[in-house]
Symmetry: D2
C-alpha cells in the first residue's frame, strides 16, 4: 500500500512524483450529470501552483490540467475521471547531495527505511507537488458541494507570530494576498515577518483555518467514521500538518463544562446554537452549524542554514540545502486544506445516503 | 454505514449501546498463534470500567469479558475473535426528559437528525460505554505489539489547569492514581481541582498523551494513509476529543525551521535524532524515534447546572440533568487512547508487510 | 485477514466455529427505521438448521437467535446489530482422528498450511455452521429488499441426476420438501436417489438456483463491481460451491450471437426483453428483468467409505470418517444462497444511491 | 461508485472510455524494488490490442503504454504507478443510431437507466477497450508472481463447438494462433467455424481456461474472501463472462463424494493429491496443486443481422449495427483472464502476509 487512495464512495487515487513525467488523480464514483470542464478545476490548481506568489517557489509550471475521461457532452458520466498535469520544470541536475544524505524534517530517511531506496529528485512522492492531484479532485468535490448549497472556505489564520484580526474577514483577500489571509493588514505584517525569515535563511510555520457552511445536520457516523475523525485524518495527511483542531480545539482541555457546552436555541424558526465551541459537530455528526477546523503547519524544513545530519552511509555530516524553497508552506496549502475538507465531506455524504429507510424508499420506489 | 468497523487488515467491528443487553467487538484478521485468554483483556477493561475510581461514574458493572470464538488450545486461530460483555447495571427508568430534549454537548440532536429517532437510554451508541469494544480489541493489539518489542503507553497529562511535572514520570502511578497521571503530586492537585468542579456542579477537560516506543522505522504510508493521519482519525474518533497533536503539535505553527528541524545523528551505532519535535513521524512514516501524540478532551457535557436547550418539539426550555456522571472524562479515556493507538499501528504494520519485494520473498519463497 | 467481513456500506462481520461457545454476526450500516425483531430472523435460521429434515445432520440445535444491539422501540436505530446463536450440541469427544489427519475435500490441510494449526472440532470455522451468521444477516437484508418491492427466492434445481421439471414451480414446496425443491414429484425422486447414496456410504452434489424479481434497472457498477461479479463472489464464498452461472451461464459459450441476444421490447408500457438469456444483467448492471443465478454444489466430502489420505505427520494412511453428516449439502444451502444474494444486492443498492446528481439533490436539498 | 477500483493492498484504479482521449490505470501498493519498464507491459497489451489477429477488430491502435510515475532507476519505488495509453483510432462519426437506440446484449439501456445518459461512442466505458488498464496492471502482477515462482497461463479452451484436444498442450501456440488456443489443429478448426459465423453475419461464444502453478498452499481466506470467491468476482467482472468454474466446476453437481474427493498423498516427498477435481482450492484456500478456472464467454452481441430493439424514446424498431466487430470475444479476452487471475492472487498474497505471528516476527523483528 502506498496509501494513495482516498474515500469509500467518491474514491480518489492520486499519483506522481515531483520530478516524474506528470502528476494526476483518478476519481472513481463521481455522480453523473455534473457539468464539468477543465476551467472548473484550473483556478484551484493556480492557487497552489509554484511561482504564483511572492513567498512560493519560483519554479515555473503551467500546471495545466487535462481531463482524459469521464466527461461526455460537458457532463460527468459517472465513470472514472482521469486528471493529468504534465511536469514541465524539472531540473534533475543537482540532487547528488540529497541522494546521499538525509535532510532534517524531510521524509528521505523514512522512505529509505520503508522502501529500501527512494526517488530523491525534489522530494519524489513526498513533495508538496503531490497535492496537485488532491486539489484537482477537490475542485470537483467543491463544485458538487456548492450545488447542494454547501460552502467550503479555507484561509491562512496565522504565519509565525502574525494572526488575522478576529473582526476582519475579507473573503476576496484570500486569493489576493500573498499569504492567503482574509485580512490585508495582517497579510502585510506577515509578509514583513517572512522577509526577515528569508534574510535569516530560515522559515516559518503557520495556521490554516477552514469553515464549512450550509452542511445539513446528520453527516458523519457515530463511531470510527465520525465527521471530525475523517476530517482529522484528511487534514493530517497533508505533508506538514502536525495538529488538527475542531471547533475550539485545544482550548477545550482547560475549560469547564459550563463554559464549553453550546446551548441549543431556535433562531429564525430554525434549530441553532447560541455558541459554536463544538465546531458544528456533536458525537461525530454535523449539527447544522458551521464546521470549523484548524491545521497547524510546521515551518518549511528546507532552510539554507547549514544543518547537522547523517548520510545513507550512516556517517554524520553537515548539509547545505540549495535550490528553491518557500519560506512558508501555509499559503499554498490553503487550497489543499479546502480540497481535503471537501473530499471528506462529500464522501461521507455519499456514504450516508442510505442511513434511513425513508431515504432508500425515496431513491428506489416510485 | 454506522462507521463501526476499524482497520483494513486487523478489522474491528464494535457494537452495543449503553443500555442494551450487551456490548462487544469482533476482530477479523488477528494473526494466528498468539496465546490469548480473557485474562489478557480484562485488566484493560478494568481500567476503563465505571465505579473503578473516585472521579468515574458510580455505575457498578462487572464488565467481564467473554471470548466466544477464534481461540483454540489457548491460541488465536486466525479466525474472528468475538468479544462480549454483558451490561448489568442499566437503569432505564428515568430517561423521559432526555428522550424529549436535546442535551447540550451531546449527540441527541444529531442522532435524531441523522436517523429520525434514537435510543436515548444512557446515550445509546454515543455513550462512552461504546469504547468497551475498542478497549477489548485494543488489549489484543497491544499484546501483539509487545511481542514485537513495541510499547504503547498513554497517561493523563493535564486536567483543567493542573499538568504533570515535565521531569516526573512514574509509570506505575498511571494505574494507581484516580486521574491516570504518571505523577502522584500532580494527581493530588488535580483531584482537589475536581472536588471544586463537583461542588460547582461543573466538569473539566484535560489532555491525554500517548507514547509509542520500539516502533521500527518505515511504518505508515506516504500520502493519505500516513501514520499520523491514521492516528489522528483513530484518536479523534474517541467521543470527546476536539484536537490531536503529533510531536510538538500546535507549537510548530509559531516556530522557525531552524528551531523545528530535528538533526539526524548516530547514537550507540544507531540512527537517531538529536531532538524529536516531529514526534517520531516524518512524511507520514515512522522514523524509529518514539511516536508521541496528545488528545485534547472536552469537559463532560453532562453537568448538573440548569441549561438552556430545545426539545424534540423544537421548543426552547431549561434542562436539569440528573443521574451519575464523571466530572471529567479523561481518566477513563486514557486506556481508550492507548487502545486506538495500538489498533492503528498494528493495522498499518499488517498492511505494510508487502511494501518491498524482499519482504514478499521472505514470506513466500523457501 | 480472515475474510469474514462482507460488504461496503451494509457490512456484515460473521464469527464463530462449529464447536465454539456461540456463533454470530454483526451488521454495520443497516438503515434506521426498519421494524425488526428475532421473529423476523428465526424462520431463516430454521431453514438451515441441522436436524430439520431427513437429509440433514441429526445434530439437534435450537439455533435460537438473540439480537443484542441496534434495535430500539422495535426498530433498527442505524447502529450495529449484533446477532448471536449459542452452540448447544457440541460433542468434542471423537476428534482425535481428524485432528491428526487431513480429510479429503475438506479444509483441514489448507488451514494447517495457512495458520500453522487449526480448530479441528467439527471443521471449526470452515464448517457449514459458519453460515448461521450469514443467514441471520441475510434475513434482515431480505426484509429490507421486500419493503422495496424486491423478492429473492432460492430453491434446489437438481440433486445428482434428478432435476426439477421446467414447467413446475410450486414455491410453497421449497420449504415443505426435504430437498428444497419447488416440485414435490422431483423431490420424491431425489429422496429416493439420496437413499441409495446413504446405503452406498456416499454423497451427492446438486444445483441451487436463485431468482430476484422487482429489482429496478441500474443496480451494479460497470467495471469491477458489476452486479454479476459481486454475486459470483458472494455465491462462490459458500463452502461447497464450485461454479456460478448468471442467466444461461455455461450455455452461452456454445451459442451464436443471434441466439443469445435478448431483443428489447415494450410490454404493458414498460421496457422489457423478449427473452432473458442474460439473467437480468447487462454490462454488470441490472436491466429490470429477473436476475437469475445458479450455484453448483459439490457432494458432501465427508463420506463413510474408507479414504486414502495423509496425516499431519505427512504419512499416508486410510481414513474412516465417523459421526453425523448430510448425504447432500444442497437443501440446507438454499437459504444461504438466498441470503448471500440479498446481502450483495442490498449492499450495491446502498453503494449506488449517489450515482446521479439528482439522487444527491433528492436526499440533501429541500 | 463506478466500481473501477480493484484490490485491497495492490489496488488498481482503471479509467477511460473507448473513444475518449486516453485509457489507463493507476496501481497503488506495488512493492518497491521490482525492475520495471514499458517493455515489461507492452507484450501483454499487444496480445489484447485490436487489429492484431484475423478475428479481432480491424481498428488500428498502437496501444503504446507510458509509465508516468512510480519508477526510479528502473525499479518500482513503492509509490503509485500511473499507466497511460492514448486512444488514436477513434471514429466518432457514425454513432447516431447507437446514441438513439439500445443494442441488444449491450449495456446501452442499463447505463441510461443508471446514470441518466451515456457516452455512446464505441460503448464508452463498457467497451472491451476498458480492459486495457486491467491488462497493463496485470502484466505487473504477473511479473511479481513470476519472481515468486508462480506461473499464470490462460488460453482458449473452446470456440463454439470446437474444443482443444485434451492431450495436446502447446503453450507457444497460445500467442501464435489467431484463436489463443494451445493447439494448432483445433485452432484451424475453430477458424473455419468462425468464417462461417462471419458469412452468416453472426458471432460465437467460447471458453477460456486459466491455470496457476507454483502457488504455495495457504493463500485465500476462509469465509467471504475465499481464493475462489475472489477469482470468481474478478473473472465475472470481465464484460462478456456469464459463468465461472473452479476445478471440475459444474460437473461436481452431478457427482458423488466418492468420485469427487481428491485423495491426499505424498509424491516426491511433497504433499500432493492423486486427482485435482477441486482445482487447487480447499475451503477457499490454495492447497499447493494447480489452481484451475474456466470462464464462459458469450458471443459478441454486435452482429450484423437486423435486430429488434427499442429506442431511448421507448419505441420499438429494427436496428442494423455497422462498423467493426470481432466475431468472437474469446481470443482477445485470454490475456484479460490471465491478468485478472494474477491481480487477484497477488492482492490476496499481500493481504495474507500477516496471517501468522511468525510471519510478523520474520518481517518486524531482527
Amino acid at each position: 500500500m502506498s496509501g494513495s487512495v482516498f474515500g469509500t464512495i467518491f474514491r480518489v487515487s492520486t499519483w506522481g512524483e515531483s520530478h516524474g513525467k506528470a502528476i494526476g488523480a483518478v476519481i472513481d464514483g463521481c455522480p453523473a450529470g455534473l457539468p464539468l470542464c477543465e476551467a472548473d478545476i484550473q483556478p484551484y490548481l493556480d492557487r497552489r501552483k509554484p511561482g504564483s506568489g511572492k513567498y512560493v517557489t519560483q519554479r515555473k509550471e503551467a500546471d495545466e490540467v487535462q481531463i482524459l475521461s469521464g466527461i461526455f457532452d460537458g457532463k460527468t458520466t459517472g465513470t472514472p475521471i482521469s486528471l493529468l498535469v504534465y511536469n514541465t520544470s524539472q531540473r534533475s541536475s543537482d540532487y547528488t547531495e540529497i541522494a546521499q544524505n538525509y535532510r532534517p524534517g524531510h521524509a528521505d530517511y523514512t522512505f529509505d527505511e520503508k522502501y529500501g531506496f527512494r526517488d530523491y529528485r525534489g522530494g519524489g512522492r513526498s513533495s508538496g507537488r503531490e497535492t496537485t492531484g488532491r486539489v484537482a479532485a477537490g475542485a470537483i468535490a467543491i463544485k458538487i458541494l456548492n450545488r447542494l448549497g454547501i460552502d467550503v472556505c479555507a484561509y491562512t489564520r496565522s504565519i509565525g507570530p502574525v494572526s488575522i484580526h478576529p473582526d476582519t474577514f475579507d473573503r476576496e483577500a484570500i486569493t489576493q494576498t500573498a499569504t492567503g489571509m482574509p485580512d490585508k493588514k495582517a497579510s502585510a505584517d506577515a509578509e514583513a515577518f517572512l522577509e526577515t525569515c528569508i534574510k535569516n535563511q530560515d522559515s516559518s510555520g503557520g495556521v490554516i483555518e477552514c469553515c464549512v457552511t450550509g452542511l445539513p445536520a446528520g453527516i458523519g457516523d457515530p463511531v470510527f467514521d465520525k465527521l471530525d475523525a475523517r476530517l482529522a485524518s484528511a487534514i493530517m495527511s497533508i505533508g506538514a500538518v502536525k495538529a488538527v483542531e475542531i471547533g475550539d480545539g485545544i482550548e477545550v482541555s482547560s475549560r469547564k463544562g459550563s463554559e464549553n457546552n453550546d446551548a441549543f436555541c431556535i433562531k429564525d424558526g430554525q434549530v441553532s446554537k447560541k455558541t459554536n465551541h463544538a465546531g458544528g459537530i456533536l458525537g461525530g455528526i454535523s449539527d447544522g452549524s458551521p464546521v470549523l477546523l484548524r491545521a497547524h503547519i510546521k515551518p518549511t524544513p528546507s532552510i539554507f542554514q547549514p544543518q547537522q545530519t547523517i548520510g545513507r552511509d550512516h556517517m554524520e555530516r553537515t548539509l547545505q540545502i540549495k535550490g528553491r524553497h518557500d519560506p512558508v508552506i501555509v499559503p499554498r496549502a490553503v487550497v489543499v486544506v479546502e480540497s481535503m475538507t471537501a473530499l471528506t465531506i462529500l464522501d461521507l455524504m455519499l456514504s450516508n445516503m442510505g442511513a434511513r429507510m425513508d431515504h432508500l424508499e425515496k431513491i428506489y420506489t416510485k
